[in-house]
């Protein structure tokens, strides 16, 4: 295990990647594990977090299973097999005085460290404890590399019985809930990356909404990968008890680094009877530079189950970042009359690759699902929609509506659609619409003839194309998503 290291200021590096505004690096002392993965590392992560035996057992079970698995390469993505021994599996802002110092010294050092991190989040526009505004209508859990550094508004939420804390805290303070749900929606052996996550899960967010409580504010997690050559493996668990409601949003960014960084998260959502969960993601991980050097590999397993009748789960995502994205947020519609929704905008530019979509698994009767996917490809990128709608024999009168639209910007990019439909019940009603268009020369000329610059015209046309999805995002994030699109598209034409 390495001692504290000092981050380097690499201003010029960031300068050359000016279009990715979040690409700066935070300078702070950190504790980062030596690169490599073995049973000792898994035990060390668990020990570092002071975890109970059951959590360690879960990790080890997953780790041993992972050793028997092969990295999947079936997606429409091109990348070399990763060297898992070349990543570090734990990195945290460090408090070097913690072991020996007096409480006063400890507090002083922590506050100094926190300042740097607080500045980072402030620069990203994320409220954390100390800089959060009393009047904001949002609670934030900020995660920096492997650990959660701040959770705001906690007291307000506790009054309602809502638990909103980091995953590590939940393991300590709500072990019965974590044990009850961990691995129930995404089992430890589910897939290669989910299994890896189960073994080395760093931190993440835990949300619990009690029966009949409508969470009055948005809950949000902001993930930041800072350390180079580090993997981030969050585990997020969100439980909505009977009749409850919550809107949860996650945002992501990372510094511009010239080597791939691995992000393999797992999200598990459980929606009980008559509860509703809106889960939104604005993902802006560093996409790599023009020559596809560096960037985040975003290999994520997100799955939710509508456990009870009339439960509803919506996934909304605006994906503009990452070098490679591989994710298929899933709704398992088990309860009768349960509803699954997936609204997605996935934009790829330069040499980004995305293979993303959703799975809707209909089990209960009268279940319905809606999929609206808008794929935008620019530069030399490849953008793939891959979706599965599965109607099981028990799902009488299931309904699905799927609309997949792709837009090409320029002529060196690609858009691909792989919809899988498996129907095992004759009463199902399925609708599927798909379109591919090139951003119209006619549309561009029409705008330019009205004095609108090409860049504004593209941004306007693209945002119009994505409107059906953006209107599903909470208001302030819809704005953010629009701006992200504009930034991500800079220089994509001409």
């Amino acid at each position: 295990m390495s001692g504290p290291t000092q981050y380097q200021e690499i201003d010029d590096l960031i300068g050359s990647k000016s279009s990715y505004k979040e690409g700066f690096i935070t300078t702070t002392d950190v504790e980062t594990f030596a690169r490599g993965l073995n049973e000792e590392v898994v035990r060390a992560i668990s020990a570092k977090k002071n975890e109970p035996q059951w959590m360690l057992d879960f990790r080890l079970k997953a780790y041993h299973h992972w050793l028997t698995m092969k990295e999947p390469h079936w997606a429409h993505l091109e990348y070399q097999p990763l060297d898992y021994q070349d990543y570090s599996y734990y990195s945290a802002p460090e408090c070097s005085a913690c072991d020996t110092a007096t409480p006063e010294e400890k507090a002083a050092e922590i506050s100094e460290q926190d300042d740097e991190i607080a500045k980072t989040f402030a620069a990203l526009g994320v409220p954390v404890v100390g800089n959060d505004d009393e009047n904001t209508n949002i609670a934030v859990d900020a995660i920096f590399d492997s650990v959660s550094v701040s959770t705001t508004k906690r007291a307000d939420l506790e009054a309602l019985g809502i638990i909103f804390c980091s995953f590590s805290e939940a393991v300590q303070e709500h072990p019965e809930l974590v044990q009850k749900y961990l691995g129930t929606v995404v089992p430890y052996h589910d897939n290669f990356f989910a299994t890896l996550n189960s073994a080395v899960a760093s931190d993440g967010t835990f949300v619990y909404i009690p029966e009949n409580v409508r969470c009055p504010i948005e809950l949000s997690t902001y993930f930041r990968i800072n350390e180079a050559k580090t993997g981030q493996f969050e585990r997020t668990i969100l439980i909505a008890e009977k009749g409850s409601y919550v809107s949860y949003l996650e945002g992501c960014s990372a510094p511009a680094r010239d080597a791939y960084q691995l992000h393999a998260a797992v999200v598990e959502v459980v929606v009980h009877e008559k509860a509703e969960v809106k889960y939104s993601t604005v993902q802006n991980w560093y996409p790599g530079d023009e020559n596809s050097e560096g960037g985040i590999l975003n290999f994520v397993t997100k799955r939710g189950i509508c456990e009870g009748d009339y439960a509803k789960l919506s996934w909304t995502q605006a994906e503009t970042g990452s070098a490679i994205t591989w994710k298929y947020p899933t709704c398992i519609l088990k309860g009768d009359y349960s509803i699954g929704e997936f609204y997605s905008v996935a934009l790829t530019n330069q040499r980004q690759q995305a293979d993303t979509g959703t799975k809707m698994i209909h089990i209960g009767k009268n279940t319905s699902s809606t999929i609206i996917s808008k794929g935008l490809s620019a530069g030399k990128s490849q953008n793939t929609y891959r979706g599965l709608v599965k109607i099981l024999p028990s799902a009488d009168n299931a309904r699905n509506f799927t609309q997949c639209d792709s837009m090409l910007i320029g002529d060196k990019c690609g858009a691909h659609t792989f919809p899988y439909i498996e129907v095992e019940n004759a009463t199902a009603k399925m609708e599927h619409e798909a379109t591919t268009s090139r951003i119209g020369e006619d549309q561009l000329f029409y705008c330019k003839q009205r004095g609108i610059s090409e860049q504004d015209a593209i941004s306007m046309i693209v945002n119009g194309f994505c409107k059906d999805v953006f209107k599903e995002l909470p208001l302030e994030f819809a704005q953010e998503a629009e701006e992200l699109l504009a930034i991500s598209l800079e220089g994509s034409v001409g």
Binding site: D442, F445, Y446, C447, M460, K467
Partner: protein, 258 residues
């Protein structure tokens, strides 16, 4: 002289075999209304596109002076900002983009060019509502997506409405009357007439005399095979209506053979 087109030759971009304009001359003073008529394939729409700066066409020879500037040095968006407006033969749909956003962006781009302050949402709304009434547009126009779900007539009227908002120096109407019923045509003609002024010129490209009956152009040109082969006053419209283009075309060929 507001517009001075000299010996203009243009082809489809990167295709030498498709020479469309073959030495076209046209001079327009401020305040004048010129009609351009001609058979299919004569180059009427190409002329409109080349003036507006569409990149599908390549100018191989000749010059276009507009308001003292060389128009060929300026790209489409700057031509628009300097006061060249094209009402499209087929106005384009832009799904998900409201007329309000589209037009406010457009109006403010042009105001910026003129050194005027940008209109905020409220001022723009007020400004637009006046013109909506003038053009007999639906009240919810600003909330609807640009041309999406509009009938053919509504799309054309929407273009004239935009013309009224942007107050250009040179208005080019590219077969705006095609596909319009008589009532819609009257609305378009009224719109054009209400915008006529000593500073504003028009090029009205059309197949039919009907629109011209309402607009009464100062000059009428016959475009044939990429050149203007005859120019006259309003009476030429009726001559064409009665005799078609044949006589004029034959006379042109006879002269060319001398």
């Amino acid at each position: 002289m507001l517009l001075d087109v000299q010996n203009l030759k243009a082809q489809v971009a990167e295709d030498e075999s498709k020479q469309i304009l073959k030495g076209l001359n046209l001079q327009i003073k401020a305040g004048e209304v010129h009609a351009i008529m001609g058979p299919n394939g004569a180059g009427k729409s190409t002329l409109s596109s080349v003036l507006a700066g569409r990149e599908d066409y390549e100018v191989t020879e000749g010059s276009i002076q507009f308001d003292g500037e060389d128009l060929l040095d300026i790209d489409a968006e700057d031509r628009a900002r300097k006061g060249v407006f094209l009402a499209f033969q087929y106005p384009v749909e832009i799904p998900g983009v409201s007329n309000k956003l589209f037009l406010q962006t457009s109006v403010n781009a042009i105001r910026e060019e003129r050194g005027q302050p940008a209109l905020d949402m409220f001022d723009f709304d007020e400004f637009a509502q006046e013109k909506i009434e003038l053009m007999g547009m639906r009240k919810d126009l600003l909330e609807r997506s640009v041309n999406v779900g509009f009938s053919g007539g509504e799309k054309k009227r929407n273009d004239i409405f935009q013309m009224a908002l942007l107050e250009p120096k040179l208005c080019i109407l590219d077969e705006t009357d095609s596909g319009l019923d008589i009532d819609a045509m009257k609305v378009v003609a009224n719109g054009v007439n209400s915008l006529r002024s000593d500073e504003r010129s028009f090029i009205v490209v059309t197949h039919y005399q009907r629109l011209l009956d309402y607009i009464k152009p100062d000059f009428v040109h016959v475009l044939y095979d990429g050149q203007i082969i005859k120019t006259g006053g309003f009476e030429l419209v009726h001559e064409l209506e009665e005799n078609g283009y044949d006589q004029i075309v034959q006379a042109f060929h006879a002269q060319a053979n001398i």
